[in-house]
């Protein structure tokens, strides 16, 4: 049975599609297209009407489309160590012109289908059709060509004198996988804000070098206190002004105060609606699975300054209100336990992450992104403070208080911690956080090793054991409370 998709979710999907489509269109028209880190103040670029793409969102999408490994490997072949954040590796390979493509026969220009791909063929009664070899037959419609690595610079350098050469070149261009993240336009400028990690600084410097494009940098140093001091605000505020000047030079336009305010208003509206959507996870049982929030994050990242994003979240909010009223939930299993999922999920392994949770009736009802992206501000200085408080730029006390806040509000029974091999700044103080969650909230925590983008770093057996352990601890906890 296909999962029922609410109007809000559909709207959210469309918003992200549009962001990508608009950028492709802008590029076609010869307009500037930029690449930006996810927590760069998009309000600034919006004031110049610039189309901006988000490599982190792109990398997540590539990983979810199962091309994380081939792109990571491509980056490694360029000399980037496999220790480096998987998002950065995927993005750097992409910036260098590498693409995941579909294998084809250069003579016949036909795709070469991978026999291992595809889903089992079912008859009209929904029964799997068996082949003569005793194995399930594949549905030919779902079978895919082999994935191969290609390079746009290599393609563009191909000769195009004969008809055959032209046909080959065009086919090779078209063979690049057609999903939006693999068809993102190359950058004309890059916008880097390193509030979430310093890896970002070097990552964007590398893109700037590879593509020979200007880099606009907003440096937000790590903060050791819950408050953001005035001196820190002054530093970042000055950089905003500096970035505006750079953008004026880049575009030849003046900073448009009105557009800026509009983007700010939209970003605020999106953030509030996002927060309210997140808050629906407080219901018991929750009307949806927190895993869905990871998908909706794409909207917060790529489109928070667009009115459509705000509207889509508001629509989703309505859908959820309705769902709560009629007692419906999109979680495909009865909710027995509620947990916070700490960190970014392993995109290439989402089904594997989900499986044991479903088995044990564990619903994710809290994710750290909820408070981390739900910031609202009223003026430029507050905006600085808001951008200062990114997931990895805050001190441990702030990090703990955010998490414990949603753990309490969303009534979780335990915490599942992703020790994300890609993300050093995030994983670096999780052990201490785990101790605090248990001490302060009396809930069990379990950690597992994984990676947000590189499937080679995830160990399914270990994950299942850890989930099992967490479930047992939550069960014991519940019994203690009752007894």
């Amino acid at each position: 049975m296909a999962k029922e998709v609410s109007p809000g979710v559909l709207a959210l999907r469309k918003v992200v599609e549009d962001v990508y489509a608009d950028a492709r269109e802008a590029k076609k028209q010869g307009k500037l297209v930029g690449w930006s880190s996810s927590k760069f103040p998009c309000e600034l670029a919006a004031a110049f009407d610039l189309d901006v793409m988000y490599p982190e969102n792109q990398a997540a999408g590539i990983a979810a489309n199962r091309d994380g490994e081939i792109m990571c490997q491509a980056a490694e072949d360029l000399g980037f160590d496999n220790d480096i954040c998987g998002y950065a590796r995927i993005s750097l390979a992409y910036a260098a012109g590498k693409r995941a493509s579909r294998k084809f026969d250069p003579e016949t220009l036909e795709y070469v289908i991978n026999p291992a791909s595809g889903r089992p063929l079912k008859d009209e009664n929904g029964k799997v059709v068996m082949g003569e070899d005793g194995k399930p037959k594949k549905d030919p419609k779902t079978m895919q060509p082999y994935t191969v690595l290609d390079d746009i610079h290599e393609i563009e350098a191909l000769p195009e004198t004969t008809e055959k050469e032209i046909a080959y070149k065009n086919f090779r261009r078209e063979a690049i996988k057609p999903y939006r993240q693999m068809r993102m336009p190359q950058p004309d400028f890059v916008l880097c804000c390193n509030n979430i990690c310093n890896c970002m600084t070097k990552w964007y410097e590398n893109i700037a070098r590879m593509c020979n494009v200007p880099l606009i940098m907003i440096d937000i140093p790590y903060n050791n206190t819950v408050e953001v001091h005035d001196t820190n605000v002054a530093y970042v505020r000055a950089q905003f002004d500096h970035a505006i000047k750079q953008l004026e030079e880049l575009t030849g336009k003046k900073f448009d105060e009105k557009k800026f305010e509009e983007a700010c208003a939209n970003a605020n509206r999106t953030a509030s609606a996002w927060l309210r959507v997140c808050d629906y996870l407080q219901y018991k049982p929750a009307p949806y699975s927190g895993f869905d929030l990871f998908n909706h994050m794409a909207d917060v990242v790529t489109a928070r300054g667009r009115v459509q994003a705000a509207e889509a979240f508001e629509q989703l909010e309505k859908d959820l209100a309705e769902a709560v009223k009629v007692g419906k939930s999109t979680t495909p299993f009865p909710e027995k336990y509620r947990v916070m999922f700490e960190g970014i999920p392993c995109w290439p392994k989402l089904p594997n992450l989900f499986k044991p949770l479903k088995e044990h009736g564990v619903n994710v009802t809290a994710v750290v992104y909820a408070p981390a992206f739900g910031f609202v501000y009223n003026n430029m200085d507050e905006m600085v403070r808001a951008y200062y408080k990114a997931p990895n730029s805050v001190c441990i006390e702030q990090g703990v208080s955010w998490r414990e806040g949603i753990c309490k509000d969303n009534k979780v029974d335990g915490v599942l911690v992703h020790y994300n091999r890609s993300c050093k700044p995030w994983s670096g103080y999780m052990a201490e956080m785990q101790r605090r969650f248990t001490e302060d909230l009396g809930i069990p925590c379990a950690g597992f090793d994984g990676d947000q983008a590189d499937p080679r770093n995830f160990n399914e057996a270990q994950y299942e054991t850890r989930v099992q352990g967490l479930v047992e601890a939550m069960e014991a906890n519940a019994e203690n409370k009752e007894g």
Partner: protein, 378 residues
């Protein structure tokens, strides 16, 4: 003093940092641990205390630090925490924790949490936009905070005069070390890779006046030597740190001399001096602004390959024939800059090898084979 005696003294100190701390304490001095990178040690000195560089350890194994860290963090940071937890650094009176990389950011929190009630930890965040006026101001603000915390620990006010004096002491130390690096490159017959490292490493464990006096004495002896007719090979070392005598011994055994270095623990930290006149806090901030060509620092002209070009030039100027990169495991800033370093080296026809290292390495068989093979292609 003869070269031999001096080198022996450096080696002794370099191998026994803990003994150094204890000796300082016995003299009634306060000692402040200084983690990498770019902490203004001058402030510690000006407060009348001894700064002690903490760059991990070649002798320890990670055990207690596992309570705080997943495995995928560099040993430099993990072993620093290990030594704080296992009592090695119990005599410290304070600790400065810079946060310029993604490992040191969360580690600053671990240090502070683990040392709660035990050791004051002084947080330091450098700006990456260090050159514009607003960046210099931010550095000054951060240093002001460090200064205040150091004053609390020492009980002394850091006067401008004392700070200016400290800057002079440090400028002189850096100049002496820079000259030593040059002389060591010219006289590999007397300064082995192992002793070269000891001279530079001990600087982190000594009061700079004492270290400088010894280095200047050594430099004088080296200057007086006849030119050396080196029959072996010469290389430039690059990376965060390469101070393991066992590893360096392989270079000596294979007649590979270190002509110069692009190593954080050695030359990267002593390239730039601070002004000895004017506002000394401003001088320190300007000094940080002037730092350059470092994988840890933002480059405003990042669409060029300035840092790698700088390293290529260093190689040419120093007469090195190739580059050995000591790649600390899990050090992403260094890893992120490797492809473009490689590109510049290849373009200039300079051979290089990348040696994966960490501070828990005890067996250097593989490294030895790689280094020998590399010597053959030079």
């Amino acid at each position: 003093m003869s070269i031999e005696v001096l080198l022996k003294e450096f080696a002794e100190i370099s191998e026994h940092p803990r003994r150094q701390i204890q000796a300082f304490k016995a003299e009634g001095k306060k000692v402040v641990g200084v983690l990498p990178y770019y902490a203004p040690e001058e402030l510690v000195y000006a407060a009348g205390m001894v700064p002690m560089g903490i760059w991990g350890s070649n002798k320890k194994t990670i055990s207690m630090a596992k309570e705080y860290c997943a495995t995928f963090y560099c040993t430099i940071a993990q072993l620093a925490l290990e030594m704080l937890l296992d009592g090695t650094l119990d005599d410290l009176d304070g600790l400065i924790t810079p946060t310029i990389c993604d490992t040191l950011r969360p580690m600053s929190q671990n240090f502070r949490v683990a040392m709660k009630d035990k050791l004051p930890c002084i947080f330091l965040a450098h700006p990456q936009q260090r050159k514009p006026a607003f960046g210099i101001q931010f550095t000054m603000d951060q240093y002001q905070h460090v200064k205040g915390e150091l004053e609390k620990i020492s009980g002394n006010t850091i006067t401008d005069e004392a700070l200016r004096e400290a800057i002079k002491v440090y400028n002189r130390s850096r100049a002496a070390r820079r000259e030593f690096v040059k002389l060591a490159g010219e006289h590999p017959d007397v300064i082995s890779a192992v002793s070269r490292s000891a001279v530079l490493r001990s600087a982190w464990f000594m009061i700079k006046d004492d270290h400088t006096a010894k280095v200047e004495a050594l430099n004088a002896e080296l200057r007086a030597l006849p030119p050396c007719d080196w029959k072996g090979k010469k290389i430039l070392t690059s990376g965060i740190i390469c101070d393991n005598p066992k590893l360096l011994q392989i270079f000596d055994d294979n007649q590979i001399a270190i002509a110069a270095d692009d190593v954080a623990h050695e030359s990267r930290m002593i390239r730039v001096d601070a002004a000895e006149t004017g506002d000394p806090m401003m001088a320190l901030a300007q000094q940080f602004a002037d730092q350059d060509y470092d994988i840890l620092l933002y480059d405003e002209n990042s669409n060029q390959n300035r840092r790698a070009d700088f390293v290529v030039k260093q190689i040419k100027d120093s007469g090195a024939q190739g580059l050995v990169l000591f790649m600390q495991q899990f050090c992403d800033p260094e890893e992120m800059e490797y492809p473009y370093l490689k590109k510049a080296l290849d373009a200039a026809g300079i051979p290089h090898i990348k040696l994966g290292v960490d501070q828990q390495m005890r067996d250097f068989g593989q490294a030895s084979t790689a280094i020998q093979a590399f010597a053959d292609v030079l």
